[in-house]
């Protein structure tokens, strides 16, 4: 029996300190660790956060609740317009936003987890999102320099874990979760079920256990 990685929601939420940069998996609410995110509301220290996530939830749901309570200082993602609260918070100067093309964002996370400091990518070259970024031509095609992204804590959603922390996901709820699993100092995965070691076919493991520090089980 391996040392258990299973902890409670409150124990997990307490691992997010003031001013932390957190990565939160999910595409909208699909694949988002909603229970874990919403438990942060009960921990006042989880504030002044920088959130790296494709969206900042929806009004009244997930990260949207953290935003509504003023816990998020900065959001790095690709699509914030789906939450009108984010649009208002930005207009009122309460939310700093860094907008990245979705593919550049996911690759920056992958790079952050793979020991790559930065990379050149053709996406967004010549557009408004190129402002302030180094541009360099390769074979005559303009590329932008994109720095890798890393976080203090990653909050993930997976379908199933084994007791070691190997993870499998659920269809398109996989999305950013496996990338984020690699790119944070502390990784916490919210899962539906935990099976004994050996209960997941090694060929099916998407996130190997060495990346996962803690598991939280939600019914």
């Amino acid at each position: 029996m391996p040392r258990s990685k299973l902890i409670g929601l409150d124990e997990a939420a307490a691992l997010v300190p003031r001013g932390a940069t957190i990565m939160v998996g999910g595409f909208g609410l699909v694949g988002k660790p909603v229970a874990l995110v919403e438990r942060l509301l009960e921990h006042p220290e989880a504030t002044e956060l920088t959130v790296i996530s494709n969206n900042v939830g929806e009004p009244g749901k997930g990260l949207g609740r953290l935003l509504a309570e003023g816990r998020i200082a900065k959001a790095i993602g690709s699509y914030f317009t789906s939450n009108r609260d984010a649009v208002v918070a930005h207009a009122e100067g309460r939310l700093e936003v860094e907008l990245l093309p979705q593919g550049t964002m996911s690759e920056a996370i992958r790079a952050g987890g793979a020991g790559i400091a930065a990379f050149y990518v053709p996406t967004a070259a010549g557009t408004l999102l190129a402002e302030g970024k180094e541009t360099r031509a390769f074979d005559g095609v303009a590329h932008l320099l994109q720095h890798a992204l890393r976080a203090d804590v990653a909050l993930l959603r997976a379908r199933r874990a084994d007791e070691l922390g190997n993870l499998v996901y659920d269809k398109t709820a996989r999305n950013f979760n496996p990338d984020m699993a690699t790119a944070a100092d502390l990784v916490i995965a919210q899962v539906d079920e935990i099976v004994p070691v050996g209960g997941i076919d090694p060929e099916a493991v998407v996130t190997p256990h060495l990346l996962v520090d803690h598991l939280v089980r939600t019914p």
Binding site: F80, G103, T123
Partner: protein
């Protein structure tokens, strides 16, 4: 049939057996409805799936199975799931044959503006830039004019461009333009429309090469 569905049906006619196709949000999403069972077209969605099937029956939606517009979908036999970075690797790496994108404006060189709305702060881009840069072929699917009747094909876009890379084909309810040698070429006028209507509602210069 609504104008949007009409455009989607016209776009579907340009897809070929074996193509790997990504459908953008809006009119492009409707293209799936006009691919016959034996079309051989395989749909990729950038949130991490190849082999997208039709929308599920009412009440049968799986909350973990959505397309890039967050609408419920199904998985066809042979489907696969992958992470966001892998998905955009497929797109940027040129493995997705065709990207079908909506447009707010298109300029005289075929370049698309489709991510920033007039009068609103720029807070969303999604995968539009990646798709436009990465796909081997880009089809723009758009109404010919705005709701106010203004041409969407314009000499120069007033809205910010999504990429320097132009579309290869532009399909509206009224016409089809190919982009050749940096300019627009009218290759088809849709039934029910005439060349004069197209000329009156197109704000960009174009040449004609009608079949």
């Amino acid at each position: 049939m609504s104008v949007q569905h009409d455009i989607a049906r016209r776009v579907a006619g340009h897809l070929r057996d074996g193509e790997i196709v990504n459908l953008g949000i809006g009119i492009p999403t409707l293209v799936a409805d006009y691919l016959g069972d034996g079309s051989g077209v395989v749909l990729q969605t950038e949130n991490g799936m190849l082999g997208v099937g039709p929308a599920p029956a009412e009440g049968a939606a799986d909350p973990a199975l959505v397309n890039a517009g967050k609408l419920p979908i199904t998985a066809l036999a042979g489907a696969s799931y992958f992470s966001s970075s892998a998905s955009f690797g497929l797109i940027r790496g040129g493995h997705v044959t065709t990207s079908i994108l909506g447009a707010l404006q298109i300029d005289a060189r075929g370049r698309i503006a489709n991510w920033a709305l007039p009068g609103r702060p720029i807070l969303g881009v999604g995968g539009a830039m990646d798709l436009l840069v990465g796909a081997r072929r880009v089809i723009a699917a758009t109404t010919h004019t705005t709701k106010d009747g203004e041409p969407k094909l314009v000499d120069a876009c007033a809205l910010p461009l999504t990429a320097e890379r132009p579309a290869d084909l532009i399909v509206t309810e009224a016409a089809t333009f190919a982009v050749r040698d940096g300019g627009l070429v009218l290759v088809e006028v849709a039934p029910g429309f005439g060349g004069e209507w197209v000329a009156a509602h197109t704000g960009a210069p174009y040449t004609e090469a009608l079949a």
